[in-house]
Symmetry: C2
Subunit: 167 residues, 2 copies
DNA sequence: TATTGTTATACTCTATAACTATA
DNA sequence: TATAGTTATAGAGTATAACAATA
């Protein structure tokens, strides 16, 4: 056990011998690091179209449910109504989505993609497939299925308990 | 693809029939929701001591490596040096950690837990065990091991590529 | 009264640039 | 010249409270 480390060689910064203790075994810690890594890959992939994960999620929900209200997106995605406003604003200003006055209820808007937004979606979906493929290349298709299954258990379980939205 | 959705019953707000389309199959989306759920459980559990996940991580690294420098924590946890400053400030103001002037290098500080900080740690670790147990209760011990394995693959793979820290 | 969208506000996390004092 | 810590600043994301219009 003769160990070579008298009083710091003074040549190199020695910078990397830090113990993380129990952190690598904590689900929250590892999940946060992994989630940041995935989002960073997403953002690199979507940089050319300047679309962030939250924006893409909102666009998908509008695409899937034309005419729905902001409060429905809010509930579906777990985004507070108040925080959704500037998000929709940005999509509208970029000409990707529109607020149309709702027929029956004059308090709410019916959200739709514009034709520009609709045609952008196929490009976004292609970027998304490439992004997913990069992640899958590390864990395999079976790994993805298992990961989604476990994450779903965590999410459904831990999150449930009350209204996600608003206050 | 026969789907049951004639023309909306019109009686109830219909509030919950929103399709998420491909989102539940996207790793980033599901991972973000799961990660938020886990952190919310963590924060509920740690509310009585007013410790956030990032603070707990920093305390652990100091506990495991007494005397280390801020830049080492920065590299180890992927937190920018600049963002670590107010974090350490808060721990110091609360009397949980201290900056001691380093022996050899007068630019840096040697970080240590105070006795108050050290004794708090055992309480924090107990809260953490309870938190982990709540998550494990949903996925099982085997599920946790598998989840950590897959997340580790994602993290190590996608994150690698350059310096985490600074700019 | 309750709901929908909105505004205002605040706190955390993340990111960059630039400064200082040391090395 | 490079490193350690700091400051200032900016942008997302998330959170609450309160308001106007409408139901």
């Amino acid at each position: 056990m003769a160990d070579k480390r008298p009083e710091q060689p003074a040549g190199e910064p020695s910078g990397h011998q830090v113990s993380l203790g129990p952190l690598p075994g904590l689900i929250g810690y590892v999940m946060r690091r992994a989630q940041l890594a995935v989002f960073q890959d997403f953002m690199r992939g979507f940089a050319s179209v300047d679309i962030r994960p939250a924006q893409y999620a909102v666009l998908i929900v509008i695409e899937q449910n034309p005419g729905l209200k902001q409060s429905q997106i809010s509930t579906a995605l777990g985004i507070k109504r108040a925080n959704l406003v500037p998000l929709i604003d940005a999509l509208e200003e970029r000409g990707l989505a529109t607020r149309k006055s709702s027929a029956g209820d004059r308090r709410s808007y019916a959200l739709h993609l514009t034709s520009k937004g609709a045609s952008l979606m196929s490009h976004l979906h292609a970027l998304r497939d490439a992004h997913e493929a990069r992640v899958i290349s590390r864990i395999g298709p079976g790994g993805k299925a298992e990961l989604l299954r476990l994450l779903g258990l965590v999410f459904d379980a831990t999150a449930t308990g009350g209204g996600e939205d608003d206050g």
